[in-house]
């Protein structure tokens, strides 16, 4: 079923945004610039000749759900009434399609930037990046850090193609989680625990986004990264299990070790038949301010 397309009411949008600045300055402080960007993108998108006329209703529902979660996360719905009106405008397809794509890509880039920074922090720890650290773990952290840097660049490249603002920063919510965890990172197991949290959040965020992104390039970039983050999770879960089993000696790439691996190593890396999304981040959590 084709999605109904309606033009954005520019005057109403301007009035609403001005009203937001006058009345909701505190509540909207965090989202004003993104909203201005959305207005600009809405104009650009319409000037570019319109939209793909074929989209399923489920797609619109998915985007509405993510848009709501994004606005709630940004505090935009703090004022009753105004939030609903804004939401209706933002949900008009001509306005919302590219805007939400930009937000999702910025959030994705922010998750990757945070991962890079976190792995850098880990590599500075003697038991991860030091001379006496497990060489396989060190190599994994180093390689994974590089892969996340590649992902951040890919998301920002996709943002460039959509005309969106690049996201060089880290996810503003999860960075607090990382900062609070830093003093507690006293052994490899705690670093692995933190990394699992971040990698799982990234995997599940991208899984949500894949179903909601309108731009085909953005969708495929996200999909091609989603599974790689899941692989990071699988490896980290296996490492976590071996550490808990007091067998750090088995954390290496010697094929001869397979005979000594505990049976849990054969299943711990993929605990679910279907990847879940309960740890996904809000679509606009990492949108640029």
């Amino acid at each position: 079923m084709a999605v109904e397309r309606s033009a954005v009411d520019d005057r109403a949008l301007r009035d609403l945004l001005e009203e937001s600045q006058d009345i909701q300055s505190d509540a909207m402080g965090a989202t004003r610039e993104p909203l201005a960007e959305l207005v600009e993108l809405g104009h650009e998108r319409r000037a570019g000749g319109g939209f793909d006329p074929v989209e399923a209703d489920q797609f619109r529902v998915e985007r509405r759900r993510l848009m709501r979660s994004s606005l709630v996360a940004g505090g935009a719905l703090a004022a009753y009434g105004f939030g609903g009106a804004l939401l209706r405008l933002l949900e008009t397809p001509a306005f919302a399609d590219q805007a939400l794509d930009v937000q999702m890509l910025q959030t994705s880039a922010s998750l990757e930037n945070l991962a890079v920074a976190t792995y850098d922090t880990a590599l500075a720890l003697p038991f991860i990046g030091g001379d006496g650290a497990n060489a396989t773990v060190k190599a994994f952290v180093t390689t994974t850090r590089g892969q996340h840097a590649d992902h951040a660049k890919a998301f920002n490249d996709a943002l460039t193609k959509l005309g969106g603002k690049l996201q060089p920063g880290a996810d503003p919510v999860l960075i607090d989680v990382v900062n609070k965890a830093k003093p507690t990172l006293t052994d490899a197991g705690k670093v692995v625990d933190l990394a699992i949290t971040l990698e799982t959040g990234a995997t599940e965020t991208y899984q949500n986004n894949v179903a909601a992104l309108a731009d085909p390039n953005a969708k495929m970039v996200t999909a091609s990264i989603m599974g790689v983050e899941a692989q990071h999770v699988a490896v980290l879960l296996a490492v976590q299990a071996l550490l808990k089993a007091s067998r750090p000696d088995l954390i290496n790439l010697d094929p001869g070790n397979v005979a000594n691996l505990p049976d849990v190593a054969g299943k711990v890396g993929f605990p679910e038949s279907f990847q879940k999304t309960d740890m996904a981040r809000a679509a606009g959590e990492g949108a640029t301010k």
């Binding site: 489920q58 599974g227 010697d254 679910e272």
Partner: protein, 260 residues
């Protein structure tokens, strides 16, 4: 540290029992998807220009599985020319339904291959079987069975016949010849890695072409799991578990594959 045949049988039985306990949640999720899917069933059969390669393309991608299954020096043993999806007694599926059927057939093939591996291990044909390998095979097999069930529930809820067969193009062209040469767990792991990579690539390609968002969500919830299987298999084989920064579509299968 190898395990005995009786231990292997007990282990797989325990795993299966544990796995069954998690199924209700999966079925609830699949029913939720398929309930939505039913109302949009007509969308699933549609076809668009940008999907033609996946839905009707040739079989050139088969070589990737052959290479992976047979090792880095293996040759492409693919011999069959893909034929249009053949489902005796049923109208050929089109659009996203064809992708769902292809996915179910690949999942069935994975289930059968892991079961054949477990049978061979139980029969002592693979030498010593490490516990982690037996656990992996039993767990991955159960998850692939869940994936097949999810796709078949999509089909049956839309009034289509479920897929009970396997991807014969891959089975006859690659899996059977490769399995005949498997004499140890390393060989079995290499074959499994090839299948997992092909499944993941097929799902990634499917995400690019699927029009129905619920079908796409199913693919997006399975593709990461197949890639996790591949990561652990790489680890078991002594290979770097996350070799690529970006998942690839190399080796993806086509809806023109023969199913039976």
């Amino acid at each position: 540290m190898a395990i005995s045949e009786s231990e292997l049988v007990r282990l797989t039985a325990d795993l299966d029992e544990m796995h069954r306990a998690t199924l209700p949640a999966m079925h609830a999720a699949a029913e939720g998807w398929t309930e939505q899917l039913r109302s949009a069933a007509s969308d699933l059969g549609s076809s668009r220009t940008n999907r033609r390669r996946f839905l009707a393309g040739g079989g050139a991608a088969l070589g990737a599985l052959a290479l992976a299954a047979c090792g880095s020096t293996g040759s492409n043993k693919a011999t069959g020319n893909p034929t249009p999806t053949d489902r005796p007694g049923n109208t050929p599926l089109t659009g996203d339904f064809a992708v769902a059927a292809l996915a179910a057939s690949l999942e069935h093939l994975a289930v059968d291959t892991y079961q054949a591996g477990l049978d061979a291990a139980t029969a002592g044909k693979l030498g010593a079987v490490p516990p982690a390998v037996a656990t992996f095979a039993a767990t991955a097999k159960a998850q692939h069975s869940d994936h097949a069930a999810a796709w078949n529930s999509v089909l049956t809820n839309a009034g289509k016949a479920p897929v009970t067969g396997v991807d014969l193009t891959v089975k006859n062209g690659v899996v059977d010849p490769a399995f005949a040469g498997v004499t140890d767990v390393t060989g079995l792991a290499r074959l499994a890695l090839g299948l997992e990579n092909v499944a993941a690539a097929t799902y990634l390609n499917g995400i690019a072409v699927m029009e129905n968002n619920n079908a796409l969500k199913i693919a997006a919830s399975i593709q990461p799991v197949e890639m996790q299987h591949a990561a652990i298999l790489n680890f078991v084989l002594g290979q770097y578990p996350v070799p690529d920064a970006f998942a690839k579509t190399d080796g993806y299968r086509l809806t023109s594959d023969q199913i039976g």
